[in-house]
């Protein structure tokens, strides 16, 4: 029989274990460290109030992230959008099929070098974080849950309250935008022209 302290122990364990992930996701969602802290604290408070709705401890992650996503949508969504950056990434050309690989891959260089690998090697953590930050909100959410947190599509769907197929299609577009953003960023830093130099002059 459950004792009075049991649910608290479970709650404490879940919250403490997920704190890093919650904060990391909150940081990308709010794009602001102070808002991220508030969002996590609000999530923990709401989760405590709703602890009876956690029926299956194995589902604690999606449960917590769902609470945080809902908090974010109701409180922070209005604040953080940056239409200018979003327009740059998902601009007029609406390049939903953008592929970094296709931009980088040069088959005739196969035996001289590997531009794709070079590109990835030069990416800093900050470059990726900036590219995620530049994504429109719906796309940022799926990228954070699936790519960063490693959620299965089903769990991401449950967390966001959308069908699995919507997760899949959003991810597809999100990844194209993310790769486009990384490409633009790299081009600005001169990573791309440098790789072109690999081509022999002869």
């Amino acid at each position: 029989m459950a004792r009075p302290g049991d649910s608290y122990d479970l709650f404490e364990r879940v919250v403490t274990g997920e704190m890093g992930s919650l904060y990391g996701t909150a940081l990308r969602l709010t794009r602001n460290p102070s808002d991220a802290e508030d969002l996590v604290a609000e999530t923990v408070a709401k989760a405590w109030a709703a602890q009876n709705s956690l029926n299956d401890p194995a589902k604690a992650r999606p449960w917590l992230f769902r609470i945080m996503t809902n908090c974010y949508v109701s409180t922070y969504r209005k604040r953080g959008t940056s239409p200018e950056i979003e327009a740059q990434i998902c601009g007029d050309d609406g390049d939903e099929d953008f592929s970094l690989f296709e931009r980088l891959h040069q088959p005739f260089l196969l035996w001289w070098g590997n531009p794709e690998q070079e590109f990835i090697n030069k990416l800093l953590r900050e470059d990726i974080a900036a590219a995620i930050d530049a994504l429109p909100e719906d796309f940022r959410l799926v990228v954070m849950l699936v790519d960063v947190e490693g959620f299965a599509y089903r769990d991401a769907a449950e967390t966001l309250g959308i069908p699995v197929n919507t997760v899949r299609s959003r991810l597809k577009r999100a990844r194209a935008y993310l790769q486009k953003s990384l490409w633009r960023h790299a081009s600005e830093l001169g990573v791309e022209p440098e790789m072109r130099k690999v081509v022999p002059d002869r």
Binding site: G20, Y23, I120, R125
Partner: protein, 98 residues
């Protein structure tokens, strides 16, 4: 007779099919059978292998971009909240108030 015994028969799929399922495959969202088919294909197709490897490594880098370092202020805040919840939990609703 020397019939080569295959431990399992894997359906042959083409490059287009691999590309169509590329991300589902990398995300571990394809059925076991499809997973085998794609592995079987990329073992023999350099072009698909290169593409799959690129996306796999990029995905790993995105995952590794995770920023989990908790600010001390947040850590303290959550510790205080948990203590408060713990007290409320033991004393029961209302009893922890003065």
């Amino acid at each position: 007779m020397t019939d080569s015994k295959k431990p399992e028969t894997v359906r042959e799929i083409d490059c287009d099919e691999v590309m169509r399922q590329l991300f589902d495959f990398l995300d571990g969202e394809v059925a076991e059978e499809v997973d085998h088919e794609i592995h079987h294909h990329i073992d023999e197709c350099r072009s698909c292998f290169t593409r799959v490897e690129f996306e796999r490594v990029l995905k790993e880098r995105i995952r590794a971009s995770k920023d989990e370092v908790l600010p001390e202020s947040l850590q303290d805040r959550i510790t205080d909240m948990l203590k408060q919840f713990g007290t409320a939990n033991i004393t029961g609703p209302g009893k922890n108030r003065e």
